[in-house]
Symmetry: C2
Amino acid sequence: MVSTAPTLYLFPCPMGDVKPTEVLPAPNIEILKTVKYFIVENVRSARRFIRACSAEIDIDTLQFSELNRHTSPDEVAGMLKPMAEGHSMGVISEAGCPAVADPGSDVVAIAQRKGYPVCPLVGPSSIIMALMGSGFNGQSFAFCGYLPIDAAERSAKLKEMERRIRREHQTQIFIETPYRNNRLIAAMCSALPSDLLLCVASDITGPKQSILTQPISQWKSKKYDYDKIPTIFLLYK
Amino acid sequence: MVSTAPTLYLFPCPMGDVKPTEVLPAPNIEILKTVKYFIVENVRSARRFIRACSAEIDIDTLQFSELNRHTSPDEVAGMLKPMAEGHSMGVISEAGCPAVADPGSDVVAIAQRKGYPVCPLVGPSSIIMALMGSGFNGQSFAFCGYLPIDAAERSAKLKEMERRIRREHQTQIFIETPYRNNRLIAAMCSALPSDLLLCVASDITGPKQSILTQPISQWKSKKYDYDKIPTIFLLYK
């Protein structure tokens, strides 16, 4: 999959403290070795990832631009300059797949407008893996990001999701800041009907991976603790 | 990730004629070697996949149950019998990730109800890879499966998707039977406003991979031919 034209490669990386080779196909690392210019969510963790991929890569010869919520749109446009000069580039986010529930899509959109080839690579997506393990409808699903923090708005969003589950048979997927995971489950237990199914998928690919689907009625009486563990939530009927 | 309890492993497989090691992490193949009982979309292609993964596996010692649209719900429930007897099982679909736009979720749902551990493995998802490469919103997206075949119903569905793009900033993702790809693009060119962005992602991970995002106005005047090539379609603003 190494292209001859300068290409924007999207490199997934492990979620949590797992070796790259545990969750990435071998060609990703071969392609990584050919790239010198990177756009990354966090320089420190990107360097750590690249070092873990291969001891052959001399990190000091690589150039990094940081792309996150502090980056201005003007800066983003300038980041692809090495491509205009004939170099391939790589995008790396903090965990999992760049541009999916993570920064990266802005720079991909610019590459698309400029006509540069974009090549996403295979890697762990906690969203897809949670969906696979949930037993929920995989023919129709929506990822909604974070729910609103305001209690009334969150309640309204949960009701809207319930409607889409009932009417459109659409699995609803969302995330929460990990230290609020337990509170979100409690909020769902009080806002949602007891027959609705909630799947909690936590530490995907990690040593404590757990994917558990149960009706709200059972979550109400169950002991759980997902505090500070990266977790995906899914609802279905 | 090999568990001691009998586990239902979900094995992604290559999309198209690509070696398993090109698109799968090495541990998938180690886990595959430990599994003797499989639930598969198609026995022939599952055997071919397993053979391509490792010459060490004696295919004749494996047991396969076929799960596809011809399978009755009663049969599905019986397929997990080896797990009750203490054996791990594997689910393999024809291409990509089982249970996502492919059979498998029924059997996962039963495993969840019975309390068996479910373990999805990393592999290629054309939906996620297309989304990564599109430059579209990866914080909110919906996969809608196939659009209706009836022209009026399809038009209504496209209008509904446009509303969700404008109001909810939600990327819309869908598929078509590959021999109808060109007709679907033509239908979108006549039904959708010229400023809407269409990404056509075809032959993902294959030798002719192409991911192209352009406004409908440009698709109207562009020559294209995606006939019979597995393709993902994405719309956004």
